[in-house]
Symmetry: C2
């Protein structure tokens, strides 16, 4: 699993940071990618990052503010003009369907691929064989969600050497044993697959936040996550201004990471007032509270498996 | 008067060319700028070109295809977030108002400045003291316009030296004479301002096209223009493909420039299939037909007063 940040600025683009967009490679067998938010020029950032828009299978929209959705019509159209036929599903708050339908209709556009828009509420978004995604409502002036992504436990490996030593021949039976089934051999012996499987590896848990001020829902969304991606729009001294607009400070993001017991925090969605030095100062503020914090930048890639960012 | 190209690619952005947008400095006393089309990431291009969005007074939209309008919501919002209070007027085909109103409403956005949207038909768009703008319908699958911009004649300079020699003292009388009035001096002599004015300088005429295949309306739009900005989406050998989609080739753009008797042609809106060498080849094709052709590139600036581009 891997994060690829495409936009890390709040509200407006700067010369070095675009507005919000984050690609998650959720480690699917299909190689498919998920996109979280789609600020204006996300398709340009994909082009610069050489990420193929046709590989994006799902787009999650945290809320409908312009810096999170104005890149969506262009991305949908360019994915179509490139001839993609792979289905795409959008998830986001009420109004998302009208936004997509209206912009495509008025621009005379259509998609070459099946496009589905799912307007969500808080709760389970979907749960398939590999991943479970749920949403919680955050504290922002408009309907805004954070997403908790829970990878199902990964089955342990079958101890083939021990099975062979027990006289079981490799072949179709191995697959049934790997699935945890109990089988009867030709000689009448009964073999339980679970006795030959290593314990499952626990799946990873990610928490990807939309814009928000501090809220109790955040704790539940992030609890125990391996990685939490959270906004840090303003510096610690500007809590009143940040919270009055439904945003968080560096310290508040870090306090949440600490209180939720996450392993790692990545901060993003920095105010356009911060240059590179300002951003580094925000990171330092976070680390005062929660050491294992990283600072997102456009085109930065973070591997979920890494134990620390430093 | 000056053109500042911000996007010169057709349909989709490339790594070196963004989708359509063109800033015209029409030489107003206000210093105000006009924008023609507003493809996605036009606000990013303005930022890179250090052109202040707050100085844009009018935006002309040739048609509602995504590569000409998807940057509009973001530009309107960022102009507002920068605190601009200067009025802005949008001109474009039917549907423009719904596009702007819907995207702003659903994104919870508003503007800090008066915003007016004028849905146009072919004919006069407006005529003020300095400029006359008219629109003609072009040949494209959706309602699409080209704009003819005619600068009013510029009054000639007052021959102050000759007036002083005739015994007229500099002062308020000079301004009245400059306005072409006839005045009576204290000694009874009658002075006609027109006798002391150089002939007016004829205003410039510009023709800025939206996407189009060849059409008789184009000739009227461009006739005698000082500068004509026209698409050249595909190379000369691909006329059938270009025209079937409502686009022109290099040769067709150049033939129009020649037949309309314009002084200079700038080609833009090149297919994303063309790299730098391909674009240069399109330019060469144009010059086979019409020598005084220039090739637009993102961030290229053209001065209307220059006699030739080479």
């Amino acid at each position: 699993m891997q994060f690829h940040f495409l936009g890390t600025s709040a509200g407006v683009p700067t010369r070095t940071r675009n507005v919000s967009a984050l690609v998650l490679n959720p480690g699917l067998a299909s190689g498919g990618l998920w996109l979280f938010d789609c600020g204006e020029a996300t398709q340009h950032q994909l082009l610069a990052a050489t990420v193929n828009a046709g590989k994006i299978e799902k787009i999650f929209i945290t809320h409908l503010h312009g810096d999170h959705i104005f890149g969506l019509p262009g991305l949908l159209c360019s994915r179509s003009m490139a001839g993609s036929q792979a289905p795409l599903t959008l998830y986001g708050p009420k109004g998302l369907r009208e936004f997509v339908d209206t912009t495509l209709r008025l621009s005379g556009s259509w998609t070459s691929y099946p496009l589905e828009t799912v307007e969500i509420d808080a709760g389970l978004v979907f749960n398939d064989g590999q991943l479970r995604v749920s949403a919680r409502r955050l504290a922002h002036p408009v309907e805004c969600y954070g997403f908790r992504i829970e990878q199902h436990d990964i089955p342990g490996a079958l101890d083939a050497a021990r099975l062979i030593a027990a006289g079981v021949k490799p072949g179709p039976l191995f697959q049934r044993l790997k699935n945890g089934e109990t089988i009867t051999l030709a000689d009448g012996r009964i073999i339980n697959g679970l006795d030959y499987l290593a314990p499952p590896r626990p799946g990873k848990t990610l928490a990807i936040f939309g814009d928000t001020g501090p809220t109790p829902a955040a704790l539940a969304l992030a609890r125990g996550a391996d990685v939490m991606v959270h906004e840090a729009t303003l510096e610690a001294a500007m809590a009143q201004k940040a919270n009055s607009r439904g945003h968080s400070t560096s310290h508040q993001a870090a306090e949440l990471a600490r209180d939720a017991g996450v392993r790692r925090l990545i901060i993003t969605h920095l105010s356009s007032r911060y240059d590179s030095a300002g951003a580094t100062a925000l990171l330092a503020e976070c680390r005062e509270v929660f050491a294992n914090t990283a600072l997102a930048a456009d085109f930065a890639v973070f591997d979920v498996r890494a134990d620390a960012f430093r």
